[in-house]
Symmetry: C2
Subunit: 338 residues, 2 copies
DNA sequence: ATGAAAGCGCTAACAG
DNA sequence: CTGTTAGCGCTTTCAT
């Protein structure tokens, strides 16, 4: 490989053709091997050698312009902090896409929504877009459709009309956590509702928890609490003053479960004997602390493979049903804390 | 906005021009407002109205093809799990880029490296690429340069020759942790070296820790340990049998710090009195557990703004020095655990 | 098995 | 201020 000339323009397929002593179409045939392409082994070798020599990389923009479709699947970075779940999902999805020669691109803007966001996404002319449902509006979907995006896929709490949606109902998580605790014999429980960036999420989980408790005729206390240790400590102190404090708490998420366990211990209560604790999200540290943390989790894998399935359907030309919705169910990962 | 025709092709600037009753160049002028463009307010309005009506989004591929440069800054998703740090960095960087009308795209493939990776990245014809230094090879950098990528920026442990690099030296982290503990009066210490996906990282931290201990004439025990609770527990049990066990431990990362604190407690030792614990990465939960976790952290913000500065330099045409390296220094976030 | 040529949607230089 | 036009790099007929 020779040195780059500073002002040099990127090599084109024409350059490759010239160096290899063939025509541009031959280069294209070698690089894309379409159904009816027949290139002699020797020619192919010459072309590939030229490619290497020139450090040639075909221009995706030009390709996309010419062919009218791209190999990009666009995933706008979620607003809600996903932590490790994100990397897990991305890994799986990328792998599935790679088998179809597709590229996952995560768009860094986590805030734009509606038509503005759609225009930004549409500009890239992606093959598919997987967006949180609350960032899609009718107008936005319209813009994407118009721009030739072949598959639009939503995910999140609410389904989006006309767009296949993977529904993560956080009420289910709350309900499941409470039912799990009831199954373990608890009758007086508390549900933490954390403030902060995850408040919306937490509130949904509370709703589900509440209805599960009502259904079973159990007592469930709602405890709003800030994202600081002192608040959590105050809550535990409050319980210690009660004559009949709850025997179990659904912490709303794993961070809070960690906090509440810390606080309980500081106050001399043990987990799960004096108080059972259940978190949510099943973050990696659930397995690392002691007592290990029982947690309600969504099947991230379900979403990863579900999304990949959709893209596969799209690629193989199978009909792609716009009305399909998929509900992603939570499950309880039972460990020692509750 | 009217209904999409199913087989319809995406609207083009020509469609907008026709609907607005102007020429294509006028549309382009309105949408890009280049220096010398003069369009009457009324015409501009007509054009924008047509844009809205058609749900038009300009094609980035076509634009990029024509103008020879794009608005894409490409950030290959790091192989090493970054957790929250990633989202923090992305947030900040995206915001800085938005001010320049640039888009951050995160490429989902975390594994490809060298020339193969470079070809994939180069295909998008991005304006800039920010890659982990260990995924860049000379050949890869060459391919990117050839493809007209204006700025190539590396980050990670080692600097990459010829490419400006943000150096995160994990030896520094280890050394800093140990020096902090020495400053607190500890003379016999241990350093956990976790196995698993982060082994490389941990090993570097160990090296730094070791040299800091040697420098100060202190004893530092290297403890290799698996990513499971039992291993950590066994380590603590081992210490309990020693007549002169260490008084402090650098856990290598925050997850391990959490594990070791759990294990210590299970064995009846208290933190930090019987054993001080320092983690690394300053994950959010450091503030949530009790005792709150002292942790060695890198300045993610430094990297975010550093990266943005580089892109700014690039955009404003300031000379862009290919030999610049930036060392990102760790700091100790002191809390109760050690 | 290979080459010639058209055209994807857009911008920018130039002409009016 | 607006319109005409050339061509960016590529794929894909259609001829050879």
């Amino acid at each position: 490989m020779t040195m780059p000339e500073s002002g040099a323009k990127p090599p084109t397929s024409a350059d490759v053709a010239r160096v290899a002593g063939v025509s541009r179409s031959t280069v294209s045939y070698v690089l894309n091997s379409p159904p009816g392409a027949r290139v002699s082994a020797e020619t192919r070798e010459r072309v590939l050698k030229a490619v290497r020599e020139l450090g040639y990389a075909p221009s995706a923009p030009a390709r996309s312009l010419r062919s009218g479709s791209s190999d990009i699947v666009l995933f706008p970075l979620p607003l809600q902090p996903m932590g490790q779940l994100l990397e897990q999902f991305v890994d799986e999805f990328t792998e599935a896409l790679r088998r179809q020669d597709l590229n996952l691109l995560i768009h860094g803007d986590r805030y734009a929504r509606g038509v503005d966001a759609a225009r930004t996404w549409a500009a890239l002319r992606p093959l598919a877009v997987l967006a949180e449902s609350n960032r899609l509006t009718d107008g936005g979907v319209e813009v994407l459709r118009r721009a030739g995006v072949r598959a639009i896929f939503a995910w999140g709490r609410e389904e989006h009309p006309g767009v296949p949606t993977a529904i993560f109902d956080n009420r289910d998580s709350g309900a499941l956590a409470i039912r799990h605790l009831i199954g373990r014999g608890h009758r007086r429980m508390a549900c933490l509702v954390p403030a902060g960036p995850l408040a919306g999420l937490a509130n949904e989980r509370w709703e589900g928890a509440k209805s599960a408790a009502e259904e079973a005729g159990c007592f469930l206390e709602r405890v709003d609490v800030g994202y600081v240790r002192e608040d959590v400590l105050a809550v535990v102190r409050g319980w210690q003053r009660q004559t009949e404090p709850p025997t179990a708490v659904f912490a709303g998420n794993d961070d809070f479960a960690l906090m509440i366990i810390s606080a309980l211990r500081e106050c001399g209560w043990s987990v799960p004997d004096d108080m059972a604790v259940v978190g949510a999200d099943d973050l990696p540290f659930c397995d690392l602390v002691w007592p290990r943390l029982t947690s309600v989790a969504m099947h991230t894998r379900t979403m990863g493979s579900g999304a990949a399935d959709m893209v596969t359907a799209l690629m193989t030309g199978r009909p792609y049903k716009h009305r399909d919705h998929m509900v992603v169910h939570p499950r309880v990962v039972v460990r020692e804390s509750g």
